[in-house]
Amino acid sequence: MESQETIAKKPTILSDRYQTGWKEKVSEIFSRYGIFIIFLGMVTLMSFLTPYFFNVLNLINVVRQVSFIGIVAMGVTFVIITKGIDLSSGSVIALISVVAADFAHPGEHSLFVPLAIGVGVGALTGLINGTITAKGMIPPFIATLGMMTAARGLALLYSDGRPIGNLSDSFLFIGAGEILGIPFPIIVFLVVGIISHLLLSNTKFGKYTYAIGGNEQAARICGINVDRHLILVYTYAGLLTAIAGLMLTARISVGQPSMGVMYELDAIAAAVIGGTSLTGGIGTIPGTMIGALIIGVLNNGLDLLNVSSYWQQILKGAIIVTAVLIDSRKNKKS
């Protein structure tokens, strides 16, 4: 309440906003659409720096690369909004990859089987993450760290440490196929994006997600079944991880137990760059999608500029920290 003294004034500021100067207006626009503006700025900058960046083929390439991490990041966004974290996505991708590949050899099963098994494994890992976190009262960092280690081990065990190749054409389509010239992963990225956005912003499920992250105790008192909801959120994240894992396997056309290393961190980075707050209760799907695109544009642009991958990592690190810095300053102001 200390801050309420000043904050209580806020309503008058807002109603006066229309009379206040352009400076406030600009800062207001920037704080709302800041990440989008930064994204456009990066695209413009890259277009000037290298002639190879801004053409349809390259842009499609960027978005396709981003779709896998982007889909994982959307699930992670739900988790982070509840004030949780998911460190297991990278390893779970590897597990799904080898298990699905094993059922995707030509002439053995219909396409439905590897997809269903992959999605099932993903959802199951999420279910376990959520249950351990909610019912076991174990911090999600630890619960998912355990899953991260165990799932990687399971993937290596299942595949005997070797890649599983010889996949059916119908399976390969989900990673490499195109519809009307648009790569299939991009279409899935957009569809998952729209569904996740609607789910988060317009449904009971979404509101409860925000509420739990915003104040878990208050959520319980409001009658929300917090444990059940947390389990559902982690399961949803596992499900999206599975979708990304299946497409990635098809894209590189083998089931790889070493696949997806560091994916969990890239996904968290995308969510955070996109404005999702680790303190819970704050974040949006469009933000996360832009966050993933920023990482993609950065990687691609720097590749085209022949910047070494070492420098790319350093820059990526700097951008993640800067994004959070801007975000925390924004929060402090309000």
């Binding site: 309420q4 500021i13 009658g223 079944n225």
Partner: protein, 495 residues
């Protein structure tokens, strides 16, 4: 002049982007006096104190002991002899009481940086002795009750040997007994020539302990007067700029059939054998000091921590409520004691805060009908007179009173038969307080059964039809509205 005043703040102005929080404020505090700083929430009291304590910078002059003071931060303020008891406690839970008090200035062996634990504990013991506080310095902070934490905070502020101590709502979390203790400490500090700036919403305290009163309103300086020249009515008038005649808007309501009946309810270690009933249209006040088990009692009724024995009947039917969602299904609502901790979703909007507990009514296959939400929330904003620029405003940007109204609206949307209000006007300014009281009375008239827990005696006396008195987990008695007086309630509690 300089000798008489310890503090002279003049022409203090502070602007936040787009708003003048303080406009030409003055505050002059005489040596060895207790000076109350009064005003509604948003009047600028805390902002002014933050400037004085070096947390904010503002324009204007501050003279301390006759010398002009320019502070670089709280540490600088402490070095200059100004200390502050913050309204919100900030304990380090896993450190001991002694470590908390001397945080950042622990006694060390020579210049080694090794903490001299023995001396640390000794110093704390000495400090507690002078203040008559009986808390073990080696207890972990997390194991203390809120009231004791507050006493530690007070001791810490005193331990700086400051000439001026700012106390921002020091009694918001402590019971009457400890308030008396605090006043003793204040009086002995006064004798030593220490001056105190006292911020509180509780009028009776202010008149009891303060020598002079300065009033702020909407960032403006209204005036300074000796306390004995003012009374409650004239002070309220200064604060709100309009006369609030009737402080408690309790209207007669028709009392009908029993809604809730509780028989021999107990929760081990918290409260024993509590029995009472509440009827439609009735307001049952629960009075009791901190630690009396009153909050635990209503938590058990609401299913947060189910009782270990006893029975609960709703509309004559026995119920077993194991969770808040069970309570909500049984048409019970609970406005919790601590708005920030268990009430508001601070990062969410006014709208979301309002509908979160009744979402069922707004969804079609899980999809939220946004037009219905807007219509419903607009109606609540209007009905409860909530001051917010729009429904999408984040609740944390509203004043305490308006936040409380939003949370009340949340429970009204569930249309409960029984509404439990725990400290419904804590940290709420005078104007909003009256509005909330009026609303509570109206809800009773509309046929709701209401249980109201409050530490504020005048509120209990002004609003309740009956008063249930609790003390140390036991039900001590029940008083009718006519019987109940402040003295009588204490008498029953301690009998």
């Amino acid at each position: 002049m300089g000798a008489e005043y310890i503090l002279e703040m003049e022409n203090i102005t502070k602007e936040f982007p787009g708003v003048k929080a303080l406009d030409n404020i003055q505050l002059k505090v005489k040596k060895g006096t207790v000076h109350a700083l009064m005003g509604e929430n948003g009047a600028g009291k805390s902002t002014l104190m933050k400037i004085l304590f070096g947390i904010y910078s503002g324009s204007g002059t501050i003279k301390f002991n006759g010398k002009e003071l320019k502070l670089s931060g709280p540490k600088d303020a402490l070095n200059n002899g100004i200390s502050m008891i913050h309204q919100e406690l900030s304990p380090v839970p896993y450190m001991t009481v002694a470590e908390n008090i001397f945080l950042g200035r622990e006694p060390v062996y020579g210049k080694s940086g090794w903490v001299n634990k023995k001396k640390l504990i000794e110093n704390t013991k000495k400090l507690f002795e002078t203040l008559n506080i009986s808390i073990d310095p080696t207890t972990k902070m997390k194991d203390l009750s809120i009231a004791n934490m507050q006493m530690v905070e007070i001791a810490a502020a005193v331990s700086h040997h400051a000439n001026l101590i700012i106390m921002d709502e020091p009694t918001s979390a402590i019971t009457e007994k400890e308030v008396e203790h605090l006043f003793k400490i204040i009086r002995s500090l006064k004798k030593k020539g220490v001056s105190i700036i006292y911020i509180s919403h509780k009028m009776d305290e202010v008149f009891k302990i303060c020598d002079e009163i300065t009033v702020l309103r909407d960032g403006q300086y209204i005036g300074t007067k000796p306390a004995h020249e003012l009374n409650q009515d004239s002070l309220i008038q200064m604060m709100v700029g309009r006369e609030i005649k009737q402080v408690f808007h309790k209207e007669k309501a028709e009392v009908k059939e029993v809604v809730l009946s509780v028989k021999n309810l107990s929760r081990k270690g918290k409260f024993n054998n509590v029995s009472f009933e509440v009827r439609k249209g009735e307001i049952l006040g629960i009075a009791g000091l901190m630690g009396s088990g009153r909050t635990e009692l209503i938590e058990s009724i609401f299913g947060i921590a189910p009782p270990t024995s006893g029975e609960i009947y709703l509309h004559g039917k026995r119920v077993s409520i194991q969770s808040p969602s069970g309570a909500i299904r049984n048409k019970i609502g609970l406005l919790t004691e601590d708005r920030k901790l268990t009430g508001a979703f601070l990062p969410l909007s006014v709208k979301e805060n309002m509908i979160i507990s009744s979402l069922e009514n707004f969804v079609n296959f899980g999809y939220i009908k946004s037009r219905l939400v807007k219509k419903t929330c607009d109606a609540q904003v209007k009905r409860l007179n909530i001051k917010t620029p729009n429904l999408n405003q984040l609740i944390m940007n509203l004043s305490g009173g308006n936040q409380q109204k939003v949370l009340l609206a949340r429970w009204l949307l569930n249309d409960p038969d029984l509404l439990i209000l725990d400290e419904p006007t804590r940290g709420v300014d005078v104007g909003a307080k009256a509005e909330i009281h009026k609303l509570i009375s109206k809800l009773a008239q509309e046929g709701k059964a209401i249980i109201m827990v409050s530490s504020e005696m005048p509120e209990i006396l002004g609003m309740s039809d009956r008063v249930l008195v609790m003390h140390e987990g036991n039900q001590k008695g029940e008083l009718s509205r006519e019987e109940a007086t402040q003295e009588k309630i204490l008498e029953v509690a301690y009998q």
